[in-house]
């Protein structure tokens, strides 16, 4: 009797266990297949520029002239790479301190008001479609810059400003969470030594949460790096390195969206755009690895 129950009882559990395993296994399989096929697709198309069309990868990365459809065809993507990096890093430089200060305000200075009203408002920024950002940038920021600075108003400055607002929620949310998760004794310890509130925030709170803040900033840069539509609307889309922040230029993403529809699949121009996509993808990987590394550090 005792033996037979022992044998029978575990059965439903084992079945359940297997259903769970198979189900999660299928899900993860689909995910992995999707990711790998995407990487493979982008890589195989992107590499055709070098293998099929015989373009030197160095030329793509360092060349200054972009005219893949022209005669002779030129594949210099450095202006785009420069545009992507400069807009997203400049955006992070604007949004990083803003996000940190917003987080400090919401957690340290006015927790009630900040958490109840400010945080939802900032998180709302993340839900606004990028075309709206682009439109606002085009009709507000660009004319403003045109009036103040020499030039057309379009360019890196306008792109970075639009992007900074777009990535502000990412940075603020991560900084707020990190700030709220600090052990409360830490601040008290600093106050008890006679430090003022600002000394405490600047010397104790900021260094302690720096890895988390940097994680937020890198995620923000990654998002800015991949953003296409809003940037394309305000950056001007001229394929050269600008001499000022207020001169028309392009980014990797804007170059792709700008010409993808006008090229024939399989042509050298089309392949070159895939190469740009490959660069974008590889850069995103790099950002993800940086975030991982920072998170590993923050645990110590």
């Amino acid at each position: 009797m005792a033996q037979s129950t022992k044998v029978q009882q575990p059965k439903p559990h084992i079945a359940e266990e297997w259903v769970g395993r198979v189900y999660t296994g299928i899900c993860i399989f689909i995910l992995i297949v999707a990711i790998f096929s995407m990487v493979y697709f982008v890589a195989s198309r992107g590499l055709r520029t070098f293998i099929g069309d015989g373009v030197n990868p160095l030329e793509l990365l360092t060349g200054l002239k972009w005219n893949p459809g022209g005669e002779p065809a030129l594949f210099g993507a450095l202006p785009f790479i420069f545009g992507s990096f400069s807009t997203s890093i400049l955006a992070a430089l604007i949004a990083g301190p803003l996000g940190f200060c917003a987080a400090v305000f919401m957690v340290e200075i006015m927790p009630g008001f900040g958490r109840k009203f400010l945080q939802p408002v900032i998180e709302l920024l993340a839900g606004i479609p990028s075309v709206v950002y682009g439109f606002v940038g085009l009709s507000v920021i660009v004319p403003l810059f045109r009036d103040i600075f020499p030039g057309q108003g379009i360019g890196i400055a306008a792109g970075a400003l639009v992007l900074s607002v777009m990535i502000l929620p990412t940075i603020t949310t991560i900084a707020t969470d990190a700030l709220a998760a600090l052990p409360s004794g830490l601040k008290e310890g600093s106050y008890a030594l006679g430090a003022t509130r600002w000394q405490t925030i600047y010397r104790i709170v900021l260094p302690t949460m720096l890895p988390a803040l940097l994680t937020g900033i890198v995620l923000g840069i990654a998002r800015a790096f991949g953003e296409a539509l809003a940037v394309q609307m305000v950056i001007g889309n001229a394929p050269h390195i600008p001499r000022s922040l207020f001169e028309s230029t392009s980014t990797l993403t804007s170059a792709i969206t700008q010409s993808m529809g006008n090229t024939v699949m399989g042509s050298a121009h089309n392949n070159a755009l895939w190469s740009l996509a490959l660069i974008l993808m590889l850069m995103t990987f790099v950002f993800v690895f940086i975030v991982r590394w920072l998170e590993g550090r923050s645990k110590i």
């Binding site: 830490l186 310890g189 008890a192 030594l193 006679g194 302690t208 110590i300």
Partner: protein
């Protein structure tokens, strides 16, 4: 007044409408350990926190009455809280070292009070660590993270950190209750060592600890100071019934 490191007069603490400490008057002697005992929620920690104005940081907390250090009432809106906290160190239940190196943990306070000279800072760090009986264990790794130390070592680091700003009074809020017996013994030894120089006020839940390390004991109940006397007398022949009930473990 001079023999007292710190005196509280009619000190009351309110959290909103609730009175957590009720008109407590206590004198703390220099170079002595005074233990505050009582059941949880009796107001002893709240009382302790109001002595270096830490209750200022809590929304809705109000402290009335007077706290005298020498000739100065420090429970006054015009008191410079920053320099006050330099004179009164504090150690918490849970060790709370900063996420910095051992050296920086200690140099943090002095630096803010104007010590910029590297040599002077080195000296302060060494002295403070020696006083906290931590120098031998840490002298070879001063630039390692303070969090790499064990719990007991972290607590001694926190004590060293508060000594570094040269206070005359040290407040301790259950400094050993999160530690194992060996570390507790070390902290108690250290407290006995430190009382030769400082006025130490310690909140503890551990009656034996109070008996072991303190000269005087104050018993709190429901926000009231019930009894305040020599520790020996309190534990052998208390005046009040509540005190003897608590000490003998009949409640609390």
């Amino acid at each position: 007044m001079q023999q007292y490191g710190l005196s509280a007069k009619d000190l009351s603490v309110y959290y909103g409408p609730k009175q957590a400490v009720k008109n407590v008057s206590l004198d703390f002697a220099n170079k002595q350990v005074t233990a505050l005992i009582g059941p949880s929620g009796c107001g002893k920690s709240t009382f302790l926190r109001s002595l270096n104005r830490m209750n200022d940081l809590i929304d809705g907390a109000k402290v009335t009455g007077e706290i005298w250090i020498g000739e100065e009432n420090i429970n006054h809106p015009k008191t410079d809280v920053v320099s006050l906290r330099q004179r009164i160190g504090m150690v918490w239940q849970r060790p709370n070292p900063f996420h910095k190196s051992i050296y920086e943990n200690i140099a943090f306070g002095p630096r803010y009070h104007g010590v910029k000279n590297k040599k002077q800072l080195d000296e302060i760090v060494e002295q403070s660590l020696r006083k906290a009986a931590l120098w031998e264990e840490t002298k070879d790794r001063l630039h390692k993270s303070g969090l790499s130390l064990s719990g007991g070592q972290q607590q001694r680091l926190c004590i060293a950190r508060s000594i570094a700003v040269k206070p005359s009074i040290i407040l301790m809020d259950e400094p050993a209750s999160a530690l194992d017996p060996v570390s507790t013994a070390k902290i108690e030894e250290l407290i006995t060592e430190l009382k030769q120089e400082y006025c130490i006020i310690i909140v503890t839940h551990n009656m034996h600890q109070a008996a072991r390390i303190s000269e005087k004991t104050a018993f709190f109940l429901m926000g009231d100071l019930i009894e305040y006397d020599e520790t020996d007398k309190m534990f052998t022949d208390p005046e009040k019934k509540e005190t003897s009930d608590y000490i003998s473990g009949r409640f609390g």
